[in-house]
């Protein structure tokens, strides 16, 4: 039940180990790691801006709602902010539940939210300069799956 925004790189395996430890009544732990792609040599650097105190509170609100909806035993969101080099993890989400369907759906849902609507502003620094990125149509479509 935790949100962590950090400018330092993180290691997904260590986060999964800590998250899964000591869960005798948990049957299922789903995780997702989002990695900044190198985009075949187009050496772009991703930069993410957050509003501390607002961004983490919004994510915590969505996480708590997901925990309620899917009866989660635990959830964790770790998100990088600032400049992120290609190949580095950007986001890690883990969910725990008794059965696997709930863990999968909640993890999938949280990722759709984080990628499409969470309060981040995203810039790509590329060879042709900087540009601000807007959510893709697919992000919107993915996020809409949960609105029924």
């Amino acid at each position: 039940m935790s949100v962590q925004l950090q400018s330092e790189p993180f290691e997904p395996g260590g986060l999964l180990t800590a998250f899964a430890a000591g869960r005798t009544e948990t049957g299922a732990v789903a995780s997702f790691t989002g990695i900044a792609r190198a985009e075949a040599g187009a050496t772009t650097t991703l930069e993410l801006e957050a509003y501390p105190g607002f961004t983490d509170a919004e994510i915590a609100r969505i996480g708590a709602a997901a925990a309620e909806r899917w009866g989660l035993q635990g959830w964790l969101v770790v998100h990088r902010v600032g400049k992120i080099a290609p190949g580095e993890p950007v986001v890690f989400v883990a969910t725990a539940s008794r059965h696997r369907r709930e863990a999968f759906e909640a993890c999938d849902h949280l990722m759709d939210y984080l990628k499409s609507r969470a309060p981040f502003w995203k810039k790509e620094h590329g060879p042709d300069g900087d540009r601000w990125i807007e959510p893709t149509d697919r992000d919107r479509t993915d996020a809409q799956r949960w609105e029924t």
Partner: protein, 79 residues
Amino acid sequence: MAKVLLFGRLADVAGWRDAEIEATSLHALRDTLTATDSALGEALAGPGVQAAVDKVIVRGDAPLTATSEVAFLPPMSGG
């Protein structure tokens, strides 16, 4: 003197990210910003730009005090 924060491309348009600005309401603050920098004024009025007062999204006007924190937020892109 409200604390004003600009995020994403709004900060690029304005050339600053945070400032202390005299204003007693959100509407008054927008008027002051637009009078000082018309490009920023236009960007603030653009589609999907939201304002938060003390980290809560506000639609319409809101009173501001000396300790208010106002943030202008372009459409959120996700991470």
